[in-house]
């Protein structure tokens, strides 16, 4: 199958997911537990992607100060909690990783 068809299928599926509840609103009523569960979605979904990137940068658990992604990630978390600034979190995190790796910053 052409890569274009796979891409189109992925696009249709993704758009359908994004539209799902927006389109269903008013036609369905959702139970109490479902509505109260929603505020937890972003933190749950995004943390699940972040933690393995920091602790398993090469696919296996790496708990060490030599793991520069873990240390830079912790620094970024500290900056994010302190400043609540997206910009400083990103700049600080990249700078920390660059310094730890001794390479040119991106």
């Amino acid at each position: 199958m052409s890569v274009w068809w796979i891409m189109l299928a992925c696009g249709v599926v993704t758009f359908a997911i994004r539209l799902s509840f927006i389109a269903a609103e008013g036609r369905l009523t959702f139970p109490y537990w479902f509505r109260t569960l929603l505020p937890f979605v972003p933190v749950a979904a995004l943390t699940a992607q972040v933690i393995p990137e920091l602790l398993m940068p090469q696919g296996a658990l790496w708990l060490s100060f030599n793991n520069s992604r873990l240390v830079a990630g912790l620094i970024a978390i500290a900056i994010a909690v302190q400043t609540r600034s997206v910009l400083w979190t990103l700049v600080g995190g990249f700078a920390a990783l660059a310094l730890l790796n001794g390479s040119a910053p991106p």
Partner: protein, 231 residues
Amino acid sequence: MTGADSASQEFRAGVLALAPLLVGVIPFGMIYGALALANGLSPAAALAMSTILFAGSAQFLFCQLLGVGAPATVIVAEVGLLNLRHALYSAALAPRIAHLPRRWKLVLAYLLTDEAFAAISQREAAGKAGPQRRWFYLGAGLALWGGWQLSTAAGVVLGARLPAHWPLDFALPLTFIAIIAPLIRSRAMLATAAVSGIVALLAAGLPFKLGLLAAALAGMAAGWWLAEARR
């Protein structure tokens, strides 16, 4: 203040709310463009995917799976699973845009990403959203869309000339850290993050990114249970 004034103000506020996130999105878009070419996509296909899919981490996954020769059904299923979290964003946004015409709903659904949703939920949580909030949503969504298309194009043009030792992929966890931190304002939310992170590590070996889904569901359940217990 007239409706048109507040509409353009809301639109501008949406663009500005999203702008800092572009510092993370732009490197990620560049590395996606380079990765797409390295995995055998044509420049046209790499660019088109940013419009057709418009989902950074899913586009990454698509390229990686294509590179290892995964069958089409597996690619579509995995992209769907990874993007399932958008259903929950859709559910959170639905009541706020229920009164809008269908064309608005279609456009806002298409523009619904992690970053746009983060900008929207911060605005809503701060109680600043007004009757013209649709324009804020559109501004945030389009700012991300434009940044994603431009950075993807830059990645396609630069391609293999991007130095491999630049850790551009670190932009994804950093962006998500910046989104998550302001949202953690209660013990229940902290429990959600902790449980989700631990389960993500424990379930990392599961196929088809199922660990991601398991972790998100476990984290949500933990936070919800704690919040309910305190009510």
